[in-house]
Symmetry: D2
């Protein structure tokens, strides 16, 4: 029996395919987490259990979606990055965002009791929303991640100074806010050091830098120039090389008069065997969470597989 009578309603679904050859960032945020963290007594300014739970959920998202190349989390938000060549779900924005949000939420709820064994969840449960943003160049993508990490730094310095005044200084929140109004970063460092003996630079990196999640690979067989490419973006032109919808170039391009266009066309895509090998490497690679500076070049040049999207030899789970 057909269902044709009403099926015309499918024509109302509109395309939300993201532009090819752009880096896709899906950022998720906790809904109403100010109230949520207060209800469950999260420690201020940072709660290690809460951070641990966020990172645990993020790792599971990275595990399930192997197209993700890196994640960055701070406070109640987490950003996940799909490689610009990613074709998962045909790059449909709604599928990419809802899938990430759903997996993340599932693990956040399921793993809650591991991190907060004393305080069972009650209604309303924690939940997250999300959105996808496209970045055309590696520079834009890195600037996005830098934006989030600078934000982490700004907020954490402020929060550290704010809560030190309350928790160690014994003043009330209104007074603490007034004290910080209009202060520079140097002022806040000074307040922390002179009044509370806190050297901000000795605070744990997880608080100051946030958390970076990525696959761990070994640096072995990469071509010598690859490391520079992630900085200088010279591979930007290798556009859309893996787009599944793009027909493989025929081998005999009978264009005698048009000459050499090396450097413009996408490089030869991976052979089927190589792609499969690459996929397996990614699947095997251990996913780690670290607290590193992702603004400077070092993070990226030392891990070229993240932006090339080609797995090196994986460091497997131990």
């Amino acid at each position: 029996m057909a269902n044709s009578k009403y099926e015309y309603v499918r024509a109302f679904e509109q395309s939300d395919v993201l532009l090819p050859n752009t880096w896709i960032v899906v950022r998720i945020d906790g809904r109403g987490f100010k109230r949520f963290t207060s209800k469950y007594g999260f420690r201020k300014p940072n709660d290690d259990r809460g951070i641990g739970l966020m990172n645990a959920a993020a790792k599971e998202v990275m595990k399930e979606l192997q197209d993700l190349i890196v994640g960055y989390g701070v406070s109640d938000e987490y950003s996940f990055v799909f490689h610009k060549d990613c074709t998962l779900f045909e790059r449909r924005a709604s599928k990419l965002t809802t899938t990430i949000v759903s997996i993340f939420t599932a693990y956040y709820v399921q793993l809650w009791s591991t991190y907060f064994p004393q305080t069972p969840l009650s209604t309303p449960l924690p939940s997250f929303d999300g959105r996808a943003v496209m970045y055309p160049s590696v520079g834009n993508l890195r600037d996005y991640l830098s934006w989030r990490q600078v934000d982490c730094h700004i907020n954490n310095l402020y929060n550290t100074a704010f809560w030190a005044q309350i928790q160690q200084g014994g003043i009330d929140p209104v007074k603490a806010e007034e004290e910080l109004m209009g202060t520079s970063a140097a002022d806040k460092n000074e307040i922390l050091f002179s009044r509370f003996g806190v050297n901000y630079n000795n605070e744990p990196e997880v608080y100051r830098k946030g958390s970076v999640t990525f696959r761990e690979c070994e640096l072995t067989a990469l071509p010598s120039d690859t490391s520079s490419s992630v900085v200088l973006d010279t591979t930007e032109h290798s556009a859309a090389s893996d787009l599944s919808s793009i027909p493989t170039p025929s081998t005999s391009q009978a264009r005698p008069s048009y000459g050499d266009d090396q450097g413009v066309l996408p490089p030869a895509p991976l052979s089927k065997t190589a792609a499969e090998k690459d996929r397996k490497r990614r699947a095997k690679a251990r996913i780690v969470v670290e607290h590193l500076d992702i603004i400077k070049d070092d993070f990226w040049t030392q891990r070229p597989w993240i932006l090339t999207g080609r797995a090196g030899k994986p460091v497997t789970e131990r």
Copy 2:
């Protein structure tokens, strides 16, 4: 300390605001539920525990998002409908879809042990994806819901016949599929009745009709013509009457020569007091799950508050 250096990356976020005055349907689907239900031993063709869990999660979504007017669920999918006047999250598609998916997932995971006490969840956890579709008219919206309910009917009749052959007839799945190939609905009814003594029309309504979720109100003070409007759509022109971004019409429209345009302009929006009262009524109304025909007019004419979006006197939780 400002974060302006990288903040330009915000300019890459693109608008995904849905068209005003359209009904918004967010449909979510279980990801890989064929494998998931098999792993956890869901009963075939229908598992009451699984259906109960879906409906429980859907009720919580309806409770948290009071802008939702009705939900419809079958198998591993659930459709949620926002009223055409809804302005939640400024109608941003990504916020609407991810929020629904996240709340649904959270409760699905949290309530799992209530419905499947013997089989704790393990990795990979259940998750859902979702998408938003706009429908400009009540007719389109009702046709969408009819489409889903007809699909429920078609699939359930097939599945009932398919699994009867295997579970009661003792034949294997390949053979069962062959038997049903090319059969009409009447044929399947006949197979069920003559071979297995099953009168399909006596099967539980929850299997044959799926589940409808909505707020329960009393029918008291509604104007006499309201019930017809949900069928005939005569209120369609009361466009965008509640759109928060729309300035309130000034009372003295000095347009002497343009005369009477009653019937075209949006009706006077609810006064602040009335809107607040309406909001409270919605919050108090009991959310029910029933298994009714939503294709025929009856369901809608008997519950005019669903499509008018104006709560009647609520039937509260007992």
Copy 3:
């Protein structure tokens, strides 16, 4: 010889299909017409030659695009309306807007010498930009057109009073603007009448109402209730009935238990013969330009074929 090597770039074209069952308004505006009209000495506050040229170009657009049901023009802008069932160019926004803008521009330039025989065009030539907006209900569509016509009224009353002071009162523009600052419509009427003996209501309708373009049909065989539908929008539910991409409902809908859904589903689409006859009627109908009130119901109830999208017996060109 294939062109496959570069053809992957086609994958970057993104869908811009407009939502089905919505009225599509394409509004075009003259680019830099303040300077343009000054350069060519347009008369103030209204230039009959300029208005005539706009209307002539608009008529040609209506002639070439038979899916257009009505146009409304004032000053250097023109709005064109596609019926909600229109499937021209698969409803792609870019095709619809650029085609209208291009046809309009072509005739504006070509017919220029007919309306301005003394002043040949020189660089830069007149040009227009445009955009498409969707309106889900007849009420929204009529409110859009009312918005434009009220704007015409407001601007024309102002301009008439402004230029009367300069042309008849002999004062300079700065002084004229000051005089009108903060005045009501009644004030402006009074200024015109007491100072310059102008009864605004006797000004030509083309200035006060703008120009409406539509196909002229005879009122013969229309069903009795059709006229009310354009006001009350009772036909709103006849969703998407003509969408070419929608499969025709099969005649034997084996859904025995779901009963009567009349009034919800799209009405039977026109048969091929009827559709062809309708198309021919539209092609033959004379396109007229009038200066009527399109805010009140009369315009629409007297010409039901405009919003039903079904041509009556056409009044042909004489």
Copy 4:
């Protein structure tokens, strides 16, 4: 008098802003040009008057829209490229496409009599449609243009062989088509040479390569590494440097611990004076139409100002 009563309809306009930092190609196509060229007796396979008219119209488009960096035309189509940093019309797709289509159409109609003095235009007038496509990298953009130029080559070789058979060989179109069916480029070259004495490589470049339109500048003060960048795309990371909506970085970025991120952030934007000087240079630069290979690197490396978007010393109109 306010117009607030109906103004809510503006809320239905949806954003169509194109993604920042992407190259924007607007391609326009003649509507129904097969019939049009036949009606006006265009010569086959190429009509110099028609090509001249297309190029004349394209030059005027380039003159009026100084944000355009290059155009490419063949047959009845023309592609115009906006620089990735372009902020014209806030990058709204509808404004960009309709403006180009309108200017082009205006000049095509106005200049018609210059190129076709014997055959005045009659209804229906020539018109064009258009669409915008974003390309994230220089490689994608160049591949797009290569795609069009290869298409030109393929079609022109075919058409040359096709019409030679008819015009010189005296056979009918059906037979001519049959002869070419399944032939390679070499076959077509051979047919032209052996049967009609035509050496395809001696055909005019305008037919074989199409037409490239761009601003002519002198190569003087450009930094030594600029020429390579247009090939290697090393400047890709200078994202969005000119986006008007992006706040100027504050000079004192108090981020002591995050170190050197040179090479990622956008370069310092041009100073106001420099930007103004650049604008003037662009305005003065002569716009030329040439028939060159734009697939190979040479065209781009010899004219670095095209892709850098920074004008060199202009070659002015003589």
